[in-house]
């Protein structure tokens, strides 16, 4: 867009009150019960993702406690094998599909527009649709549990155990369809974040000024785009094998059970990075803010995140070392698995250098970062160990692996997440949390975590396979299991304290003001809690930490966006120079009805594939409603050619 359309004005007088009134009016929330289903604001949707995911976290945690109670003593008859298998399957599926991925997506949906300086995500209605898909998927799985249709083949549901013959009934179909729901939601969010970051950044936020958390969400979204289709294919093929008798995984008719493992882990390994990369983004933000200096090695960190994203797709076979693959292939995947340590290592060194060169301030979020270091480095190192085929075939599918992936996922994603929520809590609620309680919580979680999962390394090396509902008294595993179960209770206490702190602080925590942590990124420029339109005026970005360069009331602003409709500024992909104004749609119920149609189709197709077609028809009407234009749109007859 030619520069003559833009004019830079020095000393501009703004009628703040009028702008605020107009924006509040055009961005107001739809009211009432129905309004809840019409909501398209990214903060509302993001918060729904986070809250829903935490509800599932609590459910998954209760399942974990039940399992630890069962394993606390040898030959315990608390859960029968059927129930135990269902519980660990639901625990794994809940934590992976209904907590870890959605909560990271929720954080992204909530924070990305605030951090890049825009008013909403690029496709607000699609965003709402994605949330309903996630919600329906979760309700669907948990409804299945109460209808006695809880899946029981493990969260990676290996065929033929999960196939039509060895998993009778509809249990596994419910599981497979839950995946379709949640992955659809993940893909929708990925598109949202990619397009939002590419097109809606505040003017001046060129690629090298994007906050690292936003980079992490961008890379994560691209990983979702390439990884999630694999699991949708896999679960779709499993469903078809189970319901209409296809033969993808049936060796007797030319299929191969290992095809499931390949397609599943082609998703399943990147999945780990899909969860972990946003965690590193959060750590990078926290380290920057609380070391009180710009991050050291910004470019190195961004390149590391990107290369992690690439290498993450070359590792899936290291979940299959025991399936009898050719030795040469195994060496290749060992090398690839070790290779991914390098970018992660570079990030750690940059964070350490940032702390080294800064003036660290030990706040509660920073304690979570320290816990992350303690736990994740250990988990990463045990990951380096199991990258080696010879060692992996000893500990594969034992409690050593259970310990490893809890160290990596809880250490690498949950601790940063808890720190990040503590950190961004003032922006979400306008209030501060209780620091003393927060610190105690962090310590309890750190101790409880290690108490639970460290003994599992020992158990795995001493021969205890994972997913056993009982073990005999003379196995010698009893004391370590008891220790782990005690640790689980400690974690539960920590979790309760964390929630107590949130609920108490939300009601009567101290007011935070716009920028309680003296942070440098854009989201701290606006009020706390952020208004529905995010920024009264879109800021112009001139550096990585705009608020550290000049006081927030001296930051140059964009004027001239219409306030009587939901207008945002679209910028160029690379240098983020202003390109055109763009009207975002307002509240609407149609995405909800499309989601209902999709839900009916997916749910029905568990029983009969024709429901899928019916669901498509049901979607059609609200879909037309969604896209049918209103007459009052001014017609632009001739477009200029793209240059």
């Amino acid at each position: 867009m030619s520069a003559d359309l833009l004019s830079t004005i020095d000393q501009y007088e703004i009628d703040e009150a009028a702008a605020k009134r107009d924006l509040e009016n055009s961005w107001r929330a739809p009211g009432g019960f129905i309004g809840w289903f019409q909501e398209v604001n990214h903060k509302a949707i993001g918060l729904r993702y986070i809250v829903t995911a935490f509800i599932f976290l609590i459910a998954g945690g209760i399942e974990a406690l039940l399992m630890r109670y069962q394993l606390a003593i040898p030959d315990h008859r608390f859960l029968n094998p059927n129930l135990y298998n269902e519980i660990f399957t639901i625990h794994g599926s809940t934590m992976m599909f209904l907590f870890a991925v959605p909560v990271m997506e929720g954080m992204g949906i909530y924070l990305v527009p605030l951090m890049i300086g825009t008013r909403n995500v690029a496709f607000p209605r699609l965003n709402a649709y994605g949330y309903y898909m996630f919600l329906f998927g979760g309700i669907f799985l948990y409804a299945g549990i109460f209808l006695n249709m809880a899946p029981d083949a493990g969260w990676f549901a290996y065929t033929p155990l999960s196939g039509p013959q060895f998993s009778p009934g509809k249990r596994l179909d419910f599981w497979a369809q839950m995946i379709t729901f949640t992955e659809l939601s993940a893909l929708v969010v990925a598109i949202e974040i990619i397009v939002t970051v590419i097109k809606l950044r505040g003017p001046g936020m060129s690629l090298d000024r994007i906050p690292i958390f936003v980079w992490a969400m961008l890379v994560q979204s691209f990983m979702v785009v390439f990884a999630m289709p694999a699991v949708m294919d896999a679960s779709g093929m499993l469903m078809m094998d189970r319901t209409i008798g296809t033969h993808f995984f049936n060796p007797a008719e030319g299929g191969d059970p290992l095809l499931w493992q390949h397609t599943f882990w082609f998703f399943g390994h990147p999945e780990v990075y899909i969860i972990f990369i946003p965690g590193t983004g959060m750590v990078a933000e926290l380290v920057t803010v609380f070391s009180r200096r710009p991050i050291f090695g910004y470019t190195a960190i961004v390149l590391s995140i990107i290369s992690t994203g690439f290498i993450g797709f070359g590792l899936w076979v290291h979940h299959m070392f025991a399936t009898g693959l050719p030795q040469l292939g195994e060496s290749f995947f060992t090398a690839a698995s070790l290779l991914i340590t390098i970018p992660t290592g570079v990030q750690f060194f940059c964070w350490l250098a940032t702390m080294w060169g800064g003036r660290p301030k030990l706040t509660v979020p920073f304690w979570y970062v320290i816990s992350f270091f303690i736990i994740f480095v250990a988990g990463g190192l045990s990951g380096v160990m199991i990258a080696s085929v010879p060692f992996d075939i000893q500990v594969h599918d034992t409690f050593f692996i259970v310990a490893h992936f809890h160290y990596v996922l809880i250490g690498g994603a949950v601790f940063p997440l808890l720190g990040a929520i503590y950190y961004w809590f003032p922006k979400m609620t306008g209030r501060l949390q209780d620091d003393r309680l927060g610190l105690i919580t962090c310590w309890i979680l750190l101790i409880g975590f290690n108490l639970t999962f460290f003994p599992m390394h020992w158990l795995g090396l001493h021969g205890m396979p994972r997913r056993v509902y009982a073990y005999s008294a003379n196995s010698g595993w009893a004391s370590m299991n008891a220790l782990a179960s005690i640790g689980a209770v400690v974690i539960a206490v920590g979790g309760i304290l964390y929630l107590v702190n949130i609920f108490r602080s939300k009601r009567d925590g101290g007011f935070s003001g716009p920028n309680p942590w003296q942070a440098g990124t854009l989201e701290w420029m606006t009020d706390s809690p952020a208004p529905r339109y995010n920024f009264l005026h879109i800021p112009i970005v001139s550096g990585r930490e705009p608020l550290w360069e000049r006081p927030s009331d001296e930051i140059p602003l964009v004027i001239g966006l219409r306030t009587d409709r939901r207008e945002v500024l679209v910028t160029r992909t690379l240098e983020a120079s202003p390109d055109h104004r763009y009207v975002l749609p307002g509240p609407t119920i149609w995405p909800f009805w499309v989601a209902v149609g999709t839900g009916i189709g997916f749910t029905g197709s568990v029983f009969n594939m024709w429901w899928f077609v019916l669901g498509g028809f049901i979607c059609f009407v609200p879909f037309v409603g969604w896209f049918w234009p209103h007459r009052n749109i001014n017609f632009v007859p001739k477009m200029e050619k793209p240059k």
Partner: protein, 315 residues
């Protein structure tokens, strides 16, 4: 419980060359990783607590440190990769003659064992327990009849999956006599937890004797009670699923019982092989191992004792 005492099941207590290779690799890795962890945490603590110099540490110095640390990381990883590949090659090297070849077939939830020999009449079929000669290589062929299981004797070697329609092979050798327990390592359904097997590593002569015993048909004593027990067995549903060579029982869907009494455990390592446990298993196996495929058998109380006597005589 006496019969079950004295076994080991541990990856850090190697009893053969294969597991020893892996154990050495593990030790190497463990110390490297502990050192790295301590270093990272030490730098973290130092970075947080050290006295701040005025002026601040220049970025060039930080950059040099980061590059050095990355270079060291790459060096360590390369070293670990070489160690891993060397161990892998050592595991794959097969320099032995006259190995014992055993095919292990996974079933939900027990193990079918087949000692393979060039002459068919030499072959031995048993279940849930294997004997191997000390100092001689053993080739294990793993496959499955239903879902994926995994064969893993931690004291002797890493694991290999038993996948339907695939045959995976590993070799191992026990250098120390002993009883090594193993259990299924790939989740296989309801009773994955109770799918174990004992491996008896014993001197060659003892092994050969055992093998010869197993080759023969059922050799129960000819006492009246035992004969009555045999009659009961042959008229009961047992023979639909179980084989006792030398009798009319030739079912193949359950474990071979020809030498039941020579085995130390029942129900794939679930409990010691005692008459009491056997009686409990026959009458109500679902209480002991819920979901297993052995139906409850209604044995009148006066018939139970002869039946047990017969089964316990199958040495």
């Amino acid at each position: 419980m006496i019969a079950l005492a004295g076994f080991t099941q541990s990856a850090v207590n190697p009893a053969g060359p294969q597991s020893a290779h892996i154990y050495h690799l593990w030790h190497l890795y463990l110390w490297i990783c502990v050192a790295v962890w301590v270093l990272v945490i030490a730098f973290l603590i130092a970075g947080l607590t050290r006295r701040r110099p005025q002026p601040q540490t220049p970025d060039t110095k930080l950059r040099r440190s980061v590059i050095t640390a990355t270079a060291i990381t790459i060096g360590i990883l390369f070293f670990m990769l070489v160690a891993s590949i060397q161990t892998g090659n050592a595991l794959a090297t097969r320099s032995f003659t006259k190995p014992v070849s055993i095919e292990i077939t996974g079933h939900q939830w027990w193990w079918e064992v087949h000692y393979q020999f060039s002459q068919p009449d030499q072959e031995v079929v048993t279940a849930n327990e294997i004997h191997i000669p000390v100092g001689r290589a053993v080739i294990l062929k793993a496959t499955s009849q239903d879902v994926i299981h995994s064969v893993w004797i931690p004291n002797l070697d890493g694991k290999i999956d038993a996948i339907p329609e695939h045959v995976n092979t590993i070799w191992l050798r026990a250098d120390k006599p002993g009883i090594y327990r193993r259990q299924c390592a790939e989740f296989c359904g309801m009773q994955h937890a109770h799918m174990a097997m004992l491996v008896f590593a014993e001197p060659e002569p003892k092994f050969e004797r055992w093998l010869a015993d197993q080759r023969s048909g059922a050799r129960s004593s000819a006492g009246a009670v035992v004969m009555r027990g045999r009659q009961i067995f042959e008229n009961a549903p047992c023979l639909l699923c179980h084989t006792i060579r030398g009798t009319g029982a030739a079912g193949t869907t359950g474990p071979d019982l020809t030498h039941l009494a020579s085995r130390t455990t029942l129900a794939a390592g679930t409990m010691p092989n005692t008459p009491g446990n056997l009686a409990g298993w026959i009458t109500d196996s679902q209480r002991i191992k819920p979901g297993n495929n052995m139906p409850p058998i209604n044995v009148p109380s006066e018939d139970l004792q002869p039946l047990l006597s017969f089964l316990e005589s199958l040495r």
